[in-house]
Symmetry: C2
Subunit: 514 residues, 2 copies
Amino acid sequence: MTDVTTARRSRSGGGAARRASRTAVSIETAKYIERNIPTFDLLNEEALQIIEENAETLLAEVGVNFVNNPAALDRWRQAGADINGERVRIPRGLARELCKTAPSTFTQYARNPERNVEIGGKSLVLAPVYGPPFVRDAQGGRRYATMEDFRKFVKLGYMSKWLHHSGGTVCEPTDIPVNKRHLDMLHAHMTLSDKPFMGSVTEASRARDSVEMCEILFGKEFVQHNTVMTSLINVNSPLTFDDVMMGSLEVYAANNQACILSPFIVGGAMAPVSVTGTLTQVLAEVLAGIAYSQLVRPGAPMIFGAFVTSIDMNSGAPTFGTPEASQILYGAGQLARRMNLPFRSGGALCGSKLPDAQAAYESANTLNAALMGGVNFMLHACGWLEGGLVSSFEKFVLDADQLGALHKMAQGVAYDDNAQAMDALRQVGPGGHFLGCDHTQANFKDAFWRTNVLDYKPFETWDEEGARDSQALASARVEKMLATYQQPALDPAIAEALAAYVANKKASMPDAFT
Amino acid sequence: MTDVTTARRSRSGGGAARRASRTAVSIETAKYIERNIPTFDLLNEEALQIIEENAETLLAEVGVNFVNNPAALDRWRQAGADINGERVRIPRGLARELCKTAPSTFTQYARNPERNVEIGGKSLVLAPVYGPPFVRDAQGGRRYATMEDFRKFVKLGYMSKWLHHSGGTVCEPTDIPVNKRHLDMLHAHMTLSDKPFMGSVTEASRARDSVEMCEILFGKEFVQHNTVMTSLINVNSPLTFDDVMMGSLEVYAANNQACILSPFIVGGAMAPVSVTGTLTQVLAEVLAGIAYSQLVRPGAPMIFGAFVTSIDMNSGAPTFGTPEASQILYGAGQLARRMNLPFRSGGALCGSKLPDAQAAYESANTLNAALMGGVNFMLHACGWLEGGLVSSFEKFVLDADQLGALHKMAQGVAYDDNAQAMDALRQVGPGGHFLGCDHTQANFKDAFWRTNVLDYKPFETWDEEGARDSQALASARVEKMLATYQQPALDPAIAEALAAYVANKKASMPDAFT
């Protein structure tokens, strides 16, 4: 583990370490967002009731498939569902009733207790991009992701003030065998960051490995009584729950670990082309999936997920940051709140191939909708590019900077005496200016959100410095952050035990690349 | 008038004209937006009442200055205000009472009646960038704007489906004498487009010229009874109404032409650093300004404007697309609705020097806030760059494309039987796909908003076509639009009369360049 070794050496003292400490970028992490603003409730009561009614009809009359999973069928049968082959028809109201044991909020613990996050209620927890097989940066272009890329993204996430969560598969480390990647990925999250993270879901055995690694990191007792992972369980939409995803969900639920139950829908392909029809399907899938988790273990923490893209009906390409995607996000948020469940949606989603204007329009549209739509857990909050095929280094820091604006927006507007500023208004009067007045002097430091990467310079300065665009400014910031990264401390005994676990597990299996 | 001549020749027939007609880009213009969605009400009742109370205190105790304008002081004195030098102190409640004669909605007529717009209520009218002395495009970089640039922007605006309004000073034609530019600008709007437009406000005499040109275009009788211009009157914040702006406002109000009464505020410099303090000042300024318009002519159509930027307290640069700017927009919208007045704010505002990711994040943040915050008239809806110093050709078409998404978002979510899509959900069932189902076939054409400029292509195709970023794609679209532009028809007698008016006016004055 090169990174661990390097960090230990630098922590052990000496002039180099002191210099590093003096020049270190602050690794302050903001507290998760607590909304002090209303949600935007797009759908009216009538529409919501129709969707809820139709979702129940769908579950009762059409049903859902639990594939290759006789145990799941047994659980459903015992709960009162009608089983026909792999089809599970759920009597009206049963799924919603079962969902009631899922908590409305839960704490996900981090190894650094200052990084613990509350998920649900008025909170918004931000986690980075998940899943891309490619990475891109300005220097190297688009290429298959490696474990070294993965580690860089974890480091960037650790150093990003507005990111509360280290995430999961920040990119697919394609240079590591498929059956062993999860070990290296979890090891990176556990050692290179101290923020909360996600577990593996690509096989039930890997979910078990994730739990076991957490037992090393947090202690076995702690893990059995506390949630230390939030993992992503996609529904195979429409209405299908496959055995791989359900196998992982079963492991996590049984161990009281949180899952996001997320329909994964390219609108028009995996759901109807209408917003209301799509919301009906999303709700039916979430009802069935979360109900199932509660059959495995009542009280298991779950998140109502909705990952829905629109589609370009000409090319079939999924599209992002579109009005229909926002409408579905708003509606799904309302449906989740009516179930008192934490809600996952949104992200800096985009279809663009580059971190350009298209990427930013699309991402900003979704980030704004996610804040206003009451999202509690936002995966893909930074770094997502090209429809999720690419993790972009530059976009990671550009998006992460915008997340700061969400924090400020969520604070709402103060209107105490100081905020009213009547003294300033009286002091300055017509034709004056406020730059030097007492109120400004007392308040300017926190008055305005400030970017860490965008350009606010005078034109001439900007021009002399090379007329850099956002991508170039972001490249420089990525480089600076990686150069000044310092690994958070970890008990050496735990570090050794984790390394040994990974080494042993890897040695116990042949490499598999598919 | 080169453009007119060229267009006439091409309309006169021949193979070239027929080919042009076959290849012409559609110049369909969408109807102004009618919101079928709620507004986002950020401030609570208590905060709003405090701001309203404080604004009255400000007007009564501190007052506002009407500079170099004895007639205005007389009007205020007769209305019951306390006058001391140029300071006007307005008794509590008087300004609000006077504002009540301003209409809550009005129609601005266009020479093509299909382009008439309703301003106020649930409508949202979109107009392009206003005011920049520079232009930028990918080929030529940043340079002083000329009348030829101005005409290009008017043409692009005319051809932009989602733009309802031709705007005003889409860029400053710096190659034309200052005292004559308004004539060429108005002439361009009147002849190169058939959408509604704005009048000149840089001197009372130029406002009168604007009215006279409208009398030629619409007929004298029509102009006296109908609103055919909406013009931009900035307040010299804090709390100062200068004679140039008020001179223009007086001309327009007396002629029943609409004005936007807009505090123009760089937060922290021209207003307190707090959102609540800034809103208090904005409200006081709007109350005083619109009240004054109603002293000139009760019933004159007016818009509650709020142009407020945040500021980078390090450099003093105004900043855009920030959370504070959005908070002020939301609050100002609530204050405007409580006065039953149309509301102007927002735009594709940004500080970036290039149409890059920064420009798009900042612009999208503001466009979203403007839609949700209940803006009725959005100036700068496309083309704004570098804090308003630059009109960008590429950003014009990129922003204008995003405006389409606002239209779709504003429609809200249908939930009739077709939108519920229960037949589709039953037909497809678990594990199927919706691409070929009856509901999709019947609905896909209008199901999803579609871009006209962004990239949704497969990676390989995009790469083979040159891996173009948004700016490059937008350049190509600008070129295509300008190449296929066709001038809207205009009665030749009116066209001649307008040209003669401009020529005579210009001949009557020496050139002035300051």
